[in-house]
Symmetry: C2
């Protein structure tokens, strides 16, 4: 892969502390590819030959079963995805598709496993990352099982707001269709849920969200650090 990407990747938690030689070893075997929007990069069930790193663009992780489909996560730069499959040398559990034009780095899974065994810092970083991913999914499960769709939407908006600096107005930056799927509801139901939050001072116009009364929305949403905080 072109060396110009090295610094960006090197900055990821995953690669920051590892030895130079080991980092170079990973980089040597890997390459970068550009993809147009709406390309299915990965189909669930495929063997996990590469650890993916998204350098630019956005990728949707989703899953299908029996004709149904659900969106599970969105991956943004700069981060890796399907680390767990790579580690276990097991088939992907999720499919991945580009949402926009994407530049993606591919590191052969066997290289990742090999360097893991040689580099304690890298090993530490992988464990930390995996534990974080695990906890994120558990939080998502709690969100799904303990909250109604209206509550999920309310808390989603609060999380998004925080991620964007906390201002009263911010962008949705997601197709509503996909957001609905991510939140575990139909597009129609999301439309209605949006209206359902009006009494709490929420307005969504196109993709622009306005939260008029922060306290009121929070009183309804009851965000919890053990479900909604990104860190920890």
């Amino acid at each position: 892969m072109p060396e110009s990407h090295y610094p960006d990747i090197r900055e990821l938690h995953l690669f920051r502390e590892m030895e130079h030689d080991h980092f170079m070893e990973l980089m040597r075997g890997s390459y970068v590819q550009n993809f147009p929007p709406q390309i299915e990069l990965i189909e669930e069930g495929d063997p996990s030959d590469f650890l993916h790193i998204i350098l630019s663009g956005k990728v949707d992780l989703f899953s299908r079963w029996n004709g149904r489909e659900t969106s599970i996560a969105t991956v943004r730069p700069i981060s890796t995805f399907i680390l767990a499959a790579t580690i276990r040398d097991a088939p992907y559990l999720m499919s991945a598709r580009t949402l926009e034009k994407c530049r993606i780095a591919l590191i052969p899974s066997q290289d990742v496993r090999a360097v893991f065994d040689k580099d304690a810092h890298f090993a530490r970083a992988i464990v930390t990352e995996l534990a974080q991913c695990y906890r994120a999914v558990i939080k998502n499960t709690k969100d799904l099982k303990l909250r109604t769709s209206l509550e999920r939407l309310a808390n989603y908006l609060l999380r998004l707001q925080k991620r964007n600096g906390g201002a009263g107005t911010f962008e949705l930056e997601t197709e509503k269709r996909r957001l609905a799927s991510f939140l575990g509801m139909t597009p129609e139901n999301l439309s209605r849920a949006i209206k359902g939050l009006q009494p709490y001072g929420v307005k969504i116009d196109g993709s622009t969200v306005t939260i008029r009364d922060q306290a009121d929305l929070e009183r309804f949403a009851k965000p919890s650090r053990l479900i909604d905080d990104f860190a920890a």
Copy 2:
């Protein structure tokens, strides 16, 4: 802790390959406790001071929010739980309660992290275990989001059957109340779901499950290796 437990713990994937000295270091700092049934061992939000290993009995991992509660997993001997919190030195995301009399080993989290940094085999084992846990939760998410409650029950029964050797008759070994919560439904709804599977040759009498027509049930449940297989 009494040395009599060492061999059992040593056999866990997590500890099997690590160096003897490191293993002993972990064991020295840890201890074993007995708990009566229905004791809340851990409350979500607590700091993760110990890695728990269940030696006998059964433990329920669950979560509460806003007056609601949901069961997320059952831990059986011999295995660890809340590894991710230990690794990240972060608060527990789930509460834990004993379901029966339990014997549980407690290893100080800081010892786990310290040995992790010294022992490559242990590090490897932790990563493998975490990756496995992560994948299990993703599978659970897919189950929840892609299936109706009837389909979830059907597939749950098929998984349970497989785990118990594949015979047509086996035990539920779980309170229906908790099973309902685990499957994301109310007890009443589980009762009805059980009836709803009768047309597919399923009978549940007390805690005894009988599957009369395996093929018929599978045709309805459509189990998937990417959701229902324990391994991988």
